[in-house]
């Protein structure tokens, strides 16, 4: 039987439908989620009804907080943040109430909530519509941070998020929505904290997330066979599969981190720090970060492109490191 190919956004839509069909506690809300224009949530209202799929007023604090409360009551809310940038108006609900209620309560309550957020640059949308920001959420204890880089992972990780007992920030790069891939029709899960070894290699380890995974693979293609590049996609940055990264490092001795988020105090810094702490004996060369520099994303496409990590920058970083 031919394997079925669908897009990343279709995979996410399917994950919603499967979980909503099998569990009446799964509810969906956010801005315009019932609109037919929204690829990930379209059709849900028609299939599961206006009670379980609701458009919320443009009040992220109120509706994300409502998600936290609903989760504490045992529902499984999947709440959509139209863009991760807009989450900044609701950070108390996310970083305090959603993230910490379980711990603060000594385990008396759980917050099984999935907060989906679109992210990413590359569309000339400027400083408040282009960010990644996952490092902000990863910095704070209590939130699992998930960044699928392909349709298969998107579906499996979303189902895992919904079924799990913890608050999850689920990040979807908007430029990945049209990406196609083989996706099984049935429900399945991709576990958290298990990196994907996207490509084996021997000379250098590249850790990349989200949209950057594809760029890392392109860079690896371009450098092959001159240089053998191992590409690791952590899939979840909290929890992080340090073992797979360190094991790879013990083989290659070289590390490049490709991260669309800002560099300073970002995920790329964290991986570099782990290497410097726990992988030091393996390191044969300086660690290199290919991240977005500490600059707001400008509107001008040429300026934007100049700042963002790219295949070319990855190739250059690897070449300098290995060459």
């Amino acid at each position: 039987m031919a394997e079925r190919v669908i897009t990343y956004s279709e995979a996410l839509n399917e994950a919603h439908r499967l979980e909503m069909a099998s569990n009446p506690d799964v509810v969906v809300f956010g801005e315009n989620v019932s609109s037919g224009w929204r690829q990930v949530t379209k059709g849900l209202k028609e299939e599961f009804g206006r009670e379980r799929v609701r458009d919320a007023p443009i009040t992220e604090t109120a509706f994300i907080g409502m998600g936290v409360g609903a989760a504490i009551m045992g529902l499984k809310p999947v709440v959509e943040l139209m863009l991760v940038d807009f989450g900044l108006v609701a950070m108390d609900q996310i970083l305090n109430q959603m993230a910490k209620s379980h711990y603060m309560s000594g385990g008396a309550v759980k917050v099984p909530m999935t907060l989906r957020a679109v992210y990413g640059a590359g569309t000339s949308s400027a400083a408040t519509h282009s960010e990644s920001l996952y490092s902000l959420f990863a910095h704070m204890p209590g939130i699992k941070v998930v960044i699928p880089s392909n349709p298969y992972d998107a579906k499996g990780l979303l189902i895992e998020s919904i079924r799990g007992d913890d608050p999850v920030l689920f990040m979807e790069h908007r430029l990945l929505y049209p990406m196609e891939g083989v996706v099984p029709e049935e429900a399945y899960t991709v576990p958290f904290g298990m990196a994907n070894l996207v490509r084996e290699g021997y000379d250098v380890t590249v850790v990349a997330t989200g949209l950057m995974v594809g760029k890392a693979v392109e860079a690896a293609d371009e450098l092959s066979p001159k240089c053998s590049v191992e590409v690791i996609d952590p899939r979840t940055i909290v929890p992080l599969d340090e073992e797979t990264i360190l094991r790879s490092l013990s083989k290659t001795g070289r590390l490049v981190i490709v991260d669309e988020d800002y560099e300073r105090c970002g995920f790329s810094a964290e991986v570099a720090a782990i290497a410097a702490e726990k992988g030091f004996q393996h390191l044969d060369a300086p660690v290199v970060r290919v991240a977005t520099p500490n600059v707001p994303i400008p509107y001008s496409p040429v300026l934007e492109k100049h700042l963002l990590p790219s295949k070319e920058k990855i190739v250059k970083a690897i070449s300098q490191l290995v060459g």
């Binding site: 009040t59 907080g65 409360g69 109430q97 711990y103 008396a108 913890d166 904290g193």
Partner: protein, 324 residues
């Protein structure tokens, strides 16, 4: 609003709840002084009528969200006094293993979800409790307590709109620590917190019913909340109730009565006079209630002090429910 016929038993219960809260808080003050409770926090003294009058209408399957001044709400909602006091003392026998302290207590077994260290922080969450009742159609209701300071917070105002748009079974209870009293006392206020006198005047801005009452009169609270809870349970949506309160001083001697000059705002004093006049409360009964509450609180203190501090490994446990 019609005046409810409130039976004697209920009145005595209301009185008892208020006495319990004050007794508990006065003992907590002593434990703070003695270093057994490791941090200061907000007290509810003077506001007991609100918690008592509101929670008398709720069952354990109804929820409240509370504030930084949560003890009154938690006690009125039925939290176990022992485990509550142990929590304040940071013991592993506390409601939340000593991790919460006064600002973050959660007790789902009685619907106390939860105290909150962020002004206005619990209010959006309460919308989620109400949403769960609405979706399950179980006739439950959720109550959101907050102060007049919190009433201005963005998240609180957003939630008023959202609850109204979705017709959630929610009662907003704003305890207004009485700027009018502040003014009577001659406090200079350069810039007011609130641009209006009555928080409940905001209700109409969300298309929901609202009213202001004296929070030092427990029967007035009880009556007002009755209507709002019925409306919510019957699908009539949210209500915004405001209760004026005056935060009065507690004491270390365990006295139940307020200072003489505070008696006009003291809900316990006022209600005692009333039900004494009505012949419901006799001196003997009053003493019995006070003794009983004192001994319950005493047991709670003993329980708390007997408790052990958490094992160090607990610090790292429970960041996630589903590991790792």
């Amino acid at each position: 609003m019609f005046d409810l016929e409130i039976d004697e038993e209920t009145k005595i219960e209301l009185y008892r709840t208020m006495v319990r809260i004050r007794t508990f808080e006065n003992r907590a003050r002593v434990l703070i002084r003695d270093g057994e409770i490791p941090a200061r926090s907000g007290f509810y003294t003077g506001q007991e009528a609100v918690a008592a009058g509101v929670c008398a209408h709720l069952s354990p399957s109804d929820q409240i969200g509370s504030t930084h001044r949560a003890l009154g709400h938690l006690i009125a909602k039925g939290c176990d006094l022992k485990r509550l006091m142990a929590e304040l003392c940071g013991k592993s026998s506390g409601l939340n293993k000593g991790k919460a302290g006064p600002y973050h207590i959660f007790d789902p077994s009685v619907g106390a979800l939860g105290a909150n260290g962020i002004v206005g922080g619990s209010v959006p969450m309460v919308a989620g409790y109400a949403l769960a009742h609405q979706l399950r159609d179980d006739g439950g209701v959720a109550v959101s307590f907050f102060g007049e300071g919190a009433s201005n917070q963005g998240g609180v105002q957003e939630t008023l709109n959202l609850a109204a748009c979705w017709n959630l079974p929610l009662v907003f209870v704003c305890e207004n620590s009485s700027p009018e009293v502040q003014r009577m006392l001659g406090h200079e206020i350069d810039y007011p917190q609130l641009s209006i006198e009555r928080v409940s005047d905001r209700a109409q801005a969300y298309g929901i019913p609202g009213a202001t009452h004296d929070g030092w009169d427990v029967l007035e609270v009880y009556n007002a909340v009755n209507d709002a809870v019925i409306r919510a349970k019957e699908g009539g949506g949210p209500t915004l109730l405001e209760f004026k309160v005056h935060q009065i001083e507690g004491n270390l001697e365990g006295r139940i009565e307020a200072r003489d000059d505070e008696k006009i705002w003291c809900p316990i004093h006022r209600f005692k006079e009333r039900i004494t006049d009505e012949g419901i409360l006799t001196t003997e009964l009053d003493e019995k209630i006070r003794d009983e509450e004192k001994s319950k609180v005493g047991e709670a203190v003993e329980f708390a002090l007997r408790g052990t501090v958490p094992e160090l490994i607990e610090a790292f446990k429970g960041v996630f429910a589903g590991g790792p």
